[in-house]
């Protein structure tokens, strides 16, 4: 089932590639159809997934096996599976990619290339969320850059080269940090099951005790990239870099602490958080609408997902030690990006900065290491995925019609486009956390967690939560101000803006994208257990491990 999600797009790419250029309509239809199947599969998986029952729907095949003699054995697996952390991300990806495919309907240049790359993106994002093997994860993570680079660089706006190279280099920098940690982990961790086989020990526990006491030969150790095995300190080779008792230090920090920091920085670039965020507004402004939707809707979430999956799960003590710093960066992101959004004159740029601000909440929630905060952070990722998709679609609707996104160039759009205005009002209010929409639940939990941390684990000071409420206030300010300036008042439009076919209201396709997203935001706002049930148990385990340290 899971491999279907990852490999179906490849089949479609093959079909698209073999179709002639002039059959461009088929390219769209195939892409849409592929994403629709993925959506259906994801929904089925989401429904079938049983919370708290460990890894499900797993598929595990040996992929690379090499006997390196004295150094041990190298293995990498094709290992995909669902657990609480990625199941909601999978659903979100499927939803956003489907919407993205619909939003791509009006792409005109080189459709064949566009849709092939889009499907490639689709496959790699799914792969990235589903992979439980670090190498596999990393390959998907890196591979994602390729389609993104070209999608922005070819189909983007006027400064697309600058934006795409900035995006590419920035993310590449982040992945270097992750790569270093991955290699270190690989060197340190052995697969106890395969190793005990190769060492001729029948009981894994006996193997582990022998491993701990150093009685296992190096040549018999089977190194692994399995991220689940990396969680267990008993699988680390004594004396290796990332062993819990490792004595390696650099600048006074232990190797594990540094590894945690490297992971957090690597994913903070992706998230993005201040001060690593400046690639995002540029990338968003230049990217075509559907790519903006995908970027804000899912790609950013890989940052938060990676922090939980790798940072918090594999290096729990880091989460404990660096809580203050993470929380601080989160709060700064919330407030600073909110202020930036307020100063923006470009609608899309404002939305981009609001994304940074909202993702700052994710970091704050994670930093709190409380049940409320962590669940809120996960919730925020899903919620923001939905709402950011809506917001970028909204910006795209206007851009499609006039090729101008400057807030000051419009007044009183409500008169000409009532349905559009209604959707904008919903999206804006949902985005700054009106109760009844998903964003409220997420941000409430994050703030509760951040505030409560002082009383439960003492990791965060209370002023952080209170400072972050300023972000909520700022959100209301910039959204309402934009509403007032662009949509209310007498209709007026700056002369010189070329209208394509007049400012017609939403067409059916646009409604078909926006209305279900709005409905989802309401559903997740009124029935939080739909999502919470899925990941709360898993997160609880992670918190327990962190707090034991």
């Amino acid at each position: 089932m899971l491999s279907l999600l990852i490999f179906l797009p490849f089949i479609s790419i093959f079909i698209i590639a073999s179709l002639p250029m002039r059959r461009y309509y088929m390219h769209k239809v195939i892409t849409l159809f592929t994403t629709a199947i993925q959506l259906v599969v994801s929904i089925v998986l989401f429904v079938l997934y049983k919370p708290g029952k460990g890894i499900q729907f797993e598929e595990k095949y040996n992929w690379i096996e090499m006997d390196l003699g004295k150094v041990g054995k190298l293995t990498a697996q094709y290992f995909v599976g669902l657990d609480g952390i990625n199941v909601s991300m999978m659903l979100l990806t499927a939803i956003v990619m489907f919407v993205g495919a619909l939003a791509s309907w009006k792409i005109v240049e080189n459709r064949k290339g566009y849709f092939s790359l889009f499907l490639l993106l689709c496959a790699t994002i799914h792969g990235c969320f589903l992979a439980l093997d670090f190498l596999l994860f990393f390959i998907f993570f890196e591979f994602m850059l390729l389609p993104m680079y070209f999608l922005i660089g070819i189909w983007g706006g006027p400064r697309r080269e600058y934006a795409s190279i900035k995006f590419f280099l920035y993310t590449l920098l982040g992945s270097i940090f992750i790569l270093i940690v991955m290699i270190g982990l690989y060197v340190s961790v052995v697969d106890p099951f395969q190793s005990s086989l190769s060492a001729g020990i029948t009981d894994v526990n006996i193997f582990k005790t022998r491993l701990a006491s150093g009685q296992i030969n190096r040549s018999e150790m089977v190194h692994t990239f399995n991220m689940l095995l990396m969680k267990d300190p008993a699988n680390y080779i004594p004396g290796s870099v990332f062993h819990t008792l490792s004595t390696y230090t650099l600048w006074g920090y232990s190797a594990r602490a540094l590894a945690f920091l490297a992971i957090m920085i690597g994913f903070a670039i992706k998230l993005p958080s201040v001060p690593f965020h400046t690639w995002l507004p540029d990338a968003h402004v230049e990217a075509p609408t559907p790519i903006s939707v995908v970027l804000a809707g899912v790609l950013l979430k890989i940052g938060g997902y990676g922090m939980i999956r790798i940072g918090y799960s594999i290096f729990p003590e880091g989460a404990f030690h660096f809580a203050f710093a993470i929380g601080l960066i989160g709060v700064i992101s919330v407030v600073y990006a909110g202020l930036n959004a307020l100063a923006m004159k470009d609608l899309k740029k404002m939305i981009a900065y609001s994304s940074v601000s909202h993702m700052g909440f994710v970091m704050l929630g994670l930093a709190s290491v409380t049940v409320e905060g962590m669940n809120g952070a996960m919730y925020q990722m899903v919620s923001h995925g939905i709402l950011a998709s809506m917001l970028f679609l909204i910006a795209g609707v206007l851009y499609d019609r006039t090729h101008d996104r400057m807030i000051d160039n419009y007044r009183g759009l409500a008169v000409k486009m009532p349905a559009y205005t209604a959707v904008v009002i919903i999206a804006f209010f949902a985005s700054f956390g009106l109760p009844g929409f998903s964003g409220f639940i997420a941000e409430l939990f994050i703030l509760l967690g951040a505030f409560n941390a002082k009383y439960t684990n003492g990791l965060l000071p209370q002023w952080m939560a209170i400072a972050a409420t300023a972000g909520i206030l700022l959100g209301a300010v910039y959204y309402l101000w934009t509403l007032q300036r662009m949509f209310f008042g007498k209709f007026w439009i700056r002369s010189g803006i070329t209208w394509k076919e007049g400012l017609y209201d939403l067409d059916f396709r646009e409604k078909f994208m926006l209305v279900p997203l709005a409905a989802l935001a309401v559903v997740f706002g009124l029935f939080p257990h739909l999502l919470l049930n899925v990941f709360s148990l898993e997160l609880k385990e992670i918190i327990k491990v962190i707090l034991v340290k």
Partner: protein, 693 residues
């Protein structure tokens, strides 16, 4: 076995939920399909509201004599580390909630009825009724909810509905601005509310009021700073929503909304939600918090009343008066006259709604005057809300005047009207409180509150009598500018029955008899008796003193206004003195300008600054690194080209030279080769010789 009692409780809860959900249903139906319904579904919305009213009255009779019932409906649970944390949607059915439900649904129903006539020819009629439904539903949510989180959610939704209704005529820039302002200022209050919620959750681990009541039943709230902060945080929410100082400045602007909506939201119900919230969270308020609340309310009462003296806009006077009256209620809460505050909330809801509806009728007629002038060919875009252009409407609109008169008397606090009962109770409360504290602490500043309150009562009488005279007595002043307006003026009449009925009903409900048999005291009326709350304050004073003071204050203010405005010649021309005080009052203490200077400008500058930091510093740094990288690459390529390549080239050059040199041996003739061969043999021979020896 389920007992009969449980079934009855269940039935009540079910009815309450029905009242909550029905208006939400109309919102959904009318919002999406309203344009397809006959008459845009206005009668449907009104009918549903009528049903809600009926159900509310039924519920009131059912629950009046029952003890409070709390229904806890599980919403979702969060698996916590020690225990699962339940989040509940709790509903509390008690007499207060039941009465509030009746008040909300009754006024909402009447406003619906009124709006059918008032709004019908207006733009965007389709959107009006769904918004009212959304508002009513959220408001009932606040009334019913027994969980602070759910209350907060409804609280925000009410604000959202208010935003939509203030900005209803969104093509008017002023309306768009006012709606934004209202929401943002409320948002400031809500942030305080949120912080209060955080503290409650952190300290008690629940948002559920029933559980909190259990926790605090015996000990009461402890006088710690953190609880004071929590209480004040929640109070900040009330400050925003109930337009208390210093966040009161949104309410006068909110008058940009349609008048019936103003009557419902910005006079009777939503703005009173803050007081209701204080009542709900009364247990959480520490002594210090109550003191702050009392003084905030008092200050608001006075600061709200004074600008009303100089306003010329008929609705603005009422808006300022609402601020002032809300101040009275908050003050009463602060001085622990809990029952008086809630009593005033309810009486105020009726007479203030009535005042707004009558004002709406007047505006409606003024609008017709404008249209009539237009038809007669002398169009003038005069302000239909300007009281200085009105006058003499008493005889033209007798029903409107009667309703206005009753509710005006109630607002002023004249005996035999409902407002007197509640206002007197508040005044008495403040006096008792001040005396009590004076006796225990010897501090005299406690008397500031009753004194200010009495002063405000006089001011209230003054500005209301002024309004009544300007609007209903004397000459129709538009005529002094346009004598031609006379035939149009003659056509002014009472509105149709759809607008008349609500005014008459609300006016009637502003008479004392509905609240207490005794026209001079509400304490033993059915309502106040039920709301009674065991106050720790020992009465020190005879109630008669308060009564006398109250009547005297009203008389003073009213007679002053009568003396000043009665001479009928009070015309616009006489209104040219622009003294500082007058300008100060006219501009609501220049608070807008103050906020502009201390909050908005610095905020925007900070925003621009951070955008600059982003572009220049952060991106600048990144660009610098990028350029440095490029420069370094050039340097490396220079080394590559001239140093490394140079070495390689040098090697190549040397080998070339050697090649050339050795090529010179290849002459191509046998003699040469022979000579070299001989030379070679000689050299080898010599070498061997040297090695041998």
């Amino acid at each position: 076995m389920i007992s009969l009692e449980t079934i009855l409780t269940l039935q009540n809860v079910f009815i309450a939920l029905l009242i909550l959900l029905l208006p939400m249903g109309t919102f959904g139906v009318l919002y999406f399909f309203g344009s397809k319904l006959p008459r845009k579904g206005d009668w449907l919305a009104t009918g549903v509201m009528g049903i809600c009213l009926g159900l509310s009255v039924f519920l009131l009779t059912k629950t009046w004599n029952l003890p409070e019932t709390v229904a806890q409906i599980p919403w979702f649970t969060l698996p916590g580390l020690q225990r699962d944390i339940p989040f509940l949607i709790s509903i509390a059915l008690n007499p207060l909630a039941a009465v509030m439900m009746v008040v909300v649904t009754l006024i909402s129903f009447l406003v619906h009825l009124y709006s059918i006539e008032y709004m019908y020819d207006k733009k965007n009629y389709t959107r009006y009724f769904p918004y009212l439904g959304l508002f009513t539903s959220s408001m009932i949510g606040i009334v019913l909810s027994d969980n602070l989180l759910v209350t907060f959610m409804c609280w925000e939704l009410v604000g959202f509905a208010s935003y939509l209704l203030i900005g209803f005529w969104m093509e008017k820039p002023a309306a768009a601005r006012a709606s934004k302002k209202a929401f943002l200022i409320n948002r400031i209050g809500d942030v305080g509310f949120l912080v209060g919620l955080f503290i409650v959750y952190a300290k008690f681990g629940t948002f559920d009021l029933a559980e909190l009541r259990e926790f605090l039943a015996y000990t009461g709230i402890s006088e710690q700073l953190i609880f004071t902060i929590a209480g004040l945080g929640i109070f900040l929410g009330c400050v925003g929503k109930s337009a208390q100082f210093p966040l009161q400045l949104w309410l006068p602007d909110a008058m940009e909304g349609p008048t019936p909506a103003s009557a419902l939201i910005h006079a009777a119900t939503m703005v009173a939600a803050g007081i209701y919230l204080l009542a709900k969270t009364y247990l959480l308020l520490t002594g210090d918090a109550l003191l702050v609340i009392a003084f905030t309310g008092t200050l608001t009462a006075l600061l709200g009343a004074l600008p009303a003296i100089v306003q010329t806009d008929i609705k603005k006077v009422l808006a300022y008066s609402t601020i002032s009256q809300l101040g009275f209620m908050v003050m009463a809460m602060g001085v622990q006259a809990y029952d008086a505050a809630l009593f005033h909330l309810i009486t105020h809801a009726f007479f203030k709604a009535c005042l707004f509806l009558t004002a709406g009728a007047v505006i409606h007629e003024m609008h017709h005057v404008k249209q009539g002038m237009f038809i007669r060919g002398y169009f003038n875009n005069f302000d239909t809300l300007n009281m200085k252009l009105m006058g003499g409407l008493r005889k033209k609109m007798p029903v409107t005047f009667a309703a206005y008169f009753i509710s005006c008397m109630a607002l002023i606090g004249v005996p035999f009207f409902s407002g007197f009962l509640s206002k007197d109770a508040i005044l008495e409360g403040t006096m008792q409180w001040a005396l009590h504290h004076y006796k225990t602490s010897g501090q005299t500043f406690y008397f500031l509150i009753p004194v200010t309150a009495i002063l405000t009562v006089s001011v209230t009488a003054y500005y209301m009598i002024r309004q009544m005279i300007l609007v209903f007595f004397g000459e129709f002043k538009l005529k002094t500018f346009y004598p031609q307006v006379e035939p149009v003026f003659q056509k002014i009449h009472d509105p149709g029955w759809l607008m008349k009925i609500p005014m008459v009903v609300l006016g009637t409900l502003s008479v004392w008899i509905f609240f207490s048999v005794n026209p001079l005291s509400g304490h033993h009326g059915w309502l106040m008796e039920k709301l009674a709350y065991v106050s720790p304050i020992v009465p020190q004073l005879d109630a008669l003193v308060a009564l006398l003071v109250s009547v005297l204050a009203v008389l003073a203010g009213a007679s002053l206004a009568w003396y000043r405005f009665r001479p009928a010649t009070y015309l616009i021309q006489s209104d040219t003195d622009h003294s500082f005080v007058k300008r100060l009052l006219k501009n609501n203490w220049y608070m807008d300008q103050l906020y502009q200077v201390i909050l908005i400008k610095p905020g925007m500058q900070l925003a621009v600054l951070s955008a600059w930091v982003d572009r220049t510093i952060i991106d600048g740094l990144i660009h610098t690194i990028a350029y440095a990288g490029v420069l370094f690459s050039y340097f490396v390529s220079f080394i590559d080209k001239y140093l490394l390549d140079g070495i390689v080239n040098l090697g190549a050059w040397i080998s070339l030279r050697i090649g050339r040199f050795s090529r010179s041996f290849q002459q191509g003739n046998v003699q040469g080769y022979f000579a070299y061969a001989v030379l070679g043999v000689v050299l080898v021979f010599l070498y061997l010789l040297i090695i041998e020896f």
